[in-house]
Amino acid sequence: MNWGSWAEFWAMGGYGFYVWGAYGVTAAAIAAEVWALARRARRSHEAAS
């Protein structure tokens, strides 16, 4: 185990800004694509029926 506490985990050895900035934006980019896909799927279903 690398981390003694949650605070240590979030601090990432002083690199928290970079690590969480990278992971956060990646998660947001994937979430945005999933959201856009779901919207497109719903609209094309409505248009097809």
């Binding site: 690398n2 002083g14 970079y18 690590v19 990278a22 990646t26 980019a29 999933v34 497109r40 279903h45």
Partner: protein, 234 residues
């Protein structure tokens, strides 16, 4: 002979459509499980790096996203060229369905690279061969999407997009070999087929798990999008 018939069978959008749904569903579930395992290994099993501290943990998404950005472009150019050569509808649809996911992973590779570059190199961005060619890849994806969106006639849009995709594929080996061909700040490959990986086993495992997760995610996203395109066009 029977396999040849099956290929034509699945090349028809009508037969591919229901099949794609189940493949997409299975891949989405697999991607979520692999990502959970990859994040667990990446944050809790892999040790802190002796030189880079915990900043190196960006590697798990950075390398996986960069691999996907190049791989998806090659697959997109492959389908585009098949569509151009044989005039098969589904091939052109596949190329169009891949572009947004490829662009997303290219953006992620550039973004995570910038946030990794700042603590390790001292700069978010440098005009280095690897970074510049990856940025060109993003413009190729965006150019492909913009070109297809700008042409109203579907067949002409498919052809124009295919030409751009095929010409742009020369950029992929440039990205891959840029670290060897030019004197660059970006490090060389840590993983290759010809020699043992130059990294700890747990780090490598986390990277492979995230790469597989992104791979399955890409299949799921592309198949869902190709189903939308089939509904919109057919």
């Amino acid at each position: 002979m029977s396999t040849a018939i099956k290929w034509y069978w699945f090349a028809s959008p009508q037969t591919f459509y229901p099949l794609a749904r189940w493949i997409a569903l299975a891949c989405a579930v697999g991607a979520a499980l692999l990502a959970a395992a990859g994040l667990y290994v990446g944050f809790f099993v892999a040790p802190t790096d002796a030189q880079q501290g915990d900043a190196y943990r960006i590697i798990f998404i950075h390398v996986a996203a960069a691999w996907m950005s190049m791989f998806l472009y090659v697959v997109m150019a492959f389908w585009a060229s098949i569509g151009l050569a044989f005039n098969t509808r589904l091939s052109a649809m596949m190329a169009s369905a891949i572009a947004p996911t490829g662009a997303m992973f290219t953006f992620v590779a550039l973004w995570t690279g910038a946030l990794w570059g700042r603590p390790t190199w001292g700069a978010y961005w440098v005009w280095d061969a690897r970074l510049t060619s990856e940025l060109i890849l993003l413009f190729l994806y965006l150019g492909f999407m913009a070109l297809q969106a700008a042409i109203d006639d579907r067949r002409r849009a498919d052809r124009a997009g295919a030409l751009l995709a095929i010409v742009g594929v020369v950029n992929v080996p440039i990205i891959y070999y840029s670290v060897q061909w030019w004197n660059t700040l970006h490090q060389g490959a840590s993983v290759s087929l010809t020699r043992a990986p130059s990294m700890a086993a747990a780090m490598l495992a986390g990277m492979i798990l995230m790469a597989l997760a992104f791979w399955l995610y890409s299949i799921a996203a592309v198949l869902v999008r190709v189903r939308c395109i089939i509904r919109e066009r057919e």
